[in-house]
């Protein structure tokens, strides 16, 4: 780091850090304006990354992606007065020496924008939000716009959300434009908002005690729909009519309903939901545009049974052409090669939260988990099994069985040990054979000294039965943290991935964290972390590997 931009970057980082580390005034800042009581709540997060080598295969020259320094900052402000809350999140990204990509537009761009901006008021049974809001209908099959922090995704609906809620009835209506996190911490590339127009309505009622029924409908007007085009002028443009791969996505309509028996005799709980969708597209053909319509179906059911020592959870799913994602933006897709779209739903996968689920759109399956509480203890044993047809691709099938032991102490110790086996079978080969081991331990080593240990390890065999593609490798993540409350925490991290595509299979790293108050900290990571496909709740993303130094600071005022 000897260049002028790098020096300037370090100076800016030091300044921002200095601001971050100035002593907080307290949990919130109360004040009065014209006799009206107000509170101001501020969360300031700073992320500064120094990449010794940026993992971006689109940048061919090693020199162009070496020693990249960038800063991202999130300033979250909540101003509250009586029944109103104003929220603003100002995001800022700055590259000291943005990686060049000769012949291509740079995807790494400085940026500043209010990423979240909303005004919420609660008036009796009504809640009204103007601006950015997050929402889920049912079990996320029809609409789920939420933050998925583990993957760096956050898509909100920027518009109007009106909700009427009483103890027995809830109705809500939403409309707005989809707004994604434009510069996330994963790829750090500037992504434009999809700006699809969404209309949604949901009603839920409890006609009799113990029975809850609901219905919802969602209309996603895409870039080439009549409504979206008509609104384009008022919304500030972005009415591009260029097709992608000769196809224009026009509209997606989703409708469905749910039935829930939350607690039957305190031993049984049931939930069922069914949804249908209709996609309208047009394609350019030799004889002109041709309209096409596709349909989809999703059904999800869940039964929970609670007995004296046994807890049972059974889930079933059937998804047929169930994909509700954002429109691909033609500017970035055609000029910069960014083909990332954002899911507008989170359909239950029935899998472990971090399981790589590459197909959750055309699949049928079930999951059963049984927990047994060991008498006279706070410990339990569990066994979980799942089967999926047409997974990961059509005509394949997948089984996954795992079980383990869970110890929950009195708040000073906890242990989770589990092991499992997964097999993804195709007609001519076994796509994946995996044995996984997972261990989590919390322990109080001595007064004032905590320890946390995590280890997940996978033995993986891919393409078993093929002469040239078969591969056996290991993948895992482990870390051990020693905490010296209230201030210091030290973590040693070690990841590994021994497949053929990984040049250097070991990823060591270390983290030092200092808490200067109970809710504010600064954290420094140095080392390497592995990339690859990461999933959370069925939403997946390819992460680049990281090599360098990361600094993160969060301060709450």
């Amino acid at each position: 780091m000897t260049s002028a931009p790098a020096t300037a970057a370090l100076a800016l980082a030091a300044t921002l850090l200095g601001v971050s580390l100035s002593p907080p005034a307290g949990a919130v800042i109360p004040f009065e304006v014209g006799g009206v009581k107000l509170t101001l709540d501020v969360t300031e997060s700073l992320f500064a990354d120094f990449h010794t080598s940026l993992d971006d295969p689109q940048i061919l020259d090693e020199a162009d992606r070496s020693n990249i320094f960038d800063i991202r900052n999130r300033l979250n402000v909540r101003l509250r007065a009586d029944k109103l809350t104003l929220g603003v999140r100002l995001d800022f990204a700055w590259f000291a020496n943005p990686p060049a990509n000769p012949g291509q537009a740079s995807q790494y761009q400085d940026d500043i924008r209010p990423e979240e901006l909303f005004l919420t008021g609660r008036f009796g049974d009504f809640t009204v939000t103007l601006g950015d809001d997050y929402l889920t209908f049912g079990r996320g099959l029809a609409l789920s716009l939420r933050k998925i922090d583990e993957l760096g995704f956050a898509t909100s609906l920027r518009g109007v959300h009106v909700q009427w809620r009483t103890p027995r009835f809830r109705a809500r209506f939403v409309t707005g434009l989809t707004n994604t996190l434009n510069v996330d911490g994963v790829e750090e590339k500037l992504i434009p908002d999809p700006n699809d127009v969404v209309f949604g309505a949901q009603v839920e009622g409890t006609p009799i005690d113990g029975l809850k029924i609901g219905a919802h409908i969602v209309d996603i007007e895409r870039r080439h729909s009549g409504i979206r085009t008509a609104l384009a002028g008022a919304l500030g443009g972005d009415d591009d009519d260029r097709p992608l791969s000769n196809a224009r996505h026009v509209r997606t309509l989703v409708g469905g309903g749910s039935v829930e028996l939350p607690t039957l005799g305190d031993v049984l709980s049931v939930y069922a939901e069914i949804d249908a969708l209709r996609n309208e597209d047009t394609r350019e053909t030799a004889s002109g545009r041709k309209d096409t319509t596709t349909t989809g179906l999703a059904a999800y059911g869940q039964v929970q049974l609670f007995l004296e020592r046994l807890t049972l959870l059974a889930e079933l799913k059937h998804y047929d052409n169930w994909d509700v994602s954002s429109t691909l933006h033609p500017d970035t897709a055609q000029l910069q090669g960014i083909t990332q779209t954002f899911s507008y739903i989170v359909a239950p996968t029935l899998e472990r939260i971090d399981q790589r689920v590459v197909n959750n759109t055309d699949v049928t399956g079930g999951h059963l988990r049984v927990d047994y509480a060991i008498p006279d203890s706070t410990d339990s044993l569990f066994l979980s099994g799942a089967y999926f047809a047409d997974a990961p691709v059509q005509n394949d099938h997948t089984i996954h069985v795992y079980g383990g032991f869970e110890h929950t102490g009195t708040g000073t110790d906890r242990l989770l040990l589990q092991a499992g086996y997964r097999r993804e079978e195709a007609a001519e080969l076994t796509r994946l054979r995996m044995i996984h081991l997972d261990l989590d331990v919390f322990a109080l080593l001595a007064p004032g000294v905590d320890m946390q240990l995590h280890w997940s390890h996978e033995f993986r065999d891919k393409n078993v039965g093929t002469a040239t593609l078969q591969e056996t490798y290991l993948e895992g993540t482990s870390y051990v943290s020693v905490n010296l409350p209230p201030d210091w925490s030290f973590t040693a991290q070690f990841e590994y991935l021994t497949d053929a595509s990984t040049d250097s299979p070991y990823f060591p790293g270390a983290i030092i964290q200092y808490r200067f108050t109970r809710d504010s900290f600064i954290r420094l990571f140095a080392g390497r972390s592995k990339g690859g496909l990461k999933c959370s709740g069925g939403v997946c993303r390819v992460f680049p590997s990281f090599e360098g130094v990361k600094l993160e600071s969060t301060v709450r005022f």
């Binding site: 209010p114 997050y134 939420r146 609670f306 939260i353 989590d440 109970r518």
Partner: protein, 179 residues
Amino acid sequence: MKRLAALSLFVALPLLIAACASTNGATGDGGSGSTLPTFSATTLDGATFELGDHLGKDVVLISFWATYCEPCKAEMPIIEQLHGRYAKDGLKIVSVALDGADTVAGVRPFIKRQRYSFDVVVDEDGTISQAYNPAGTAPFTVIIGKNGKIAKQIEGFQASEAQMLENEVKALLGLGHAQ
């Protein structure tokens, strides 16, 4: 130019909300004197948890967690102990599950299995997080005093701090002094 507009918006909107609040004329929240946002949610037992019923009256502890968060599960026995010891003295605990659609099915079995007795709600839209935990962190604890003001926010869980947390709760309840 866009940056200038964004910055102007950022500066102007807090002033606008202050103006709106003044125009609204009302102060307080049902007489609680709290300016904190309220929320209403259905507990796992089917009851309605209304934060506004407790603001300015009880000490409220909002605990954010998720079924896939191991530190959160390690912390929960401490939350249960606080509930058992101080609910009668005016401590109201609401445990907010951050689970999304994919993992929410595991919330009720976990709570039932552990026999936790405090109120548990699911933040199905993320609106509770928007109000009290904008970063979406778990575990994350917010403690609101009887005066309706946030007294403490705690990020993460460290077992050694259990006693400190209890002392803080006792102090807010008027049962002792924070150490």
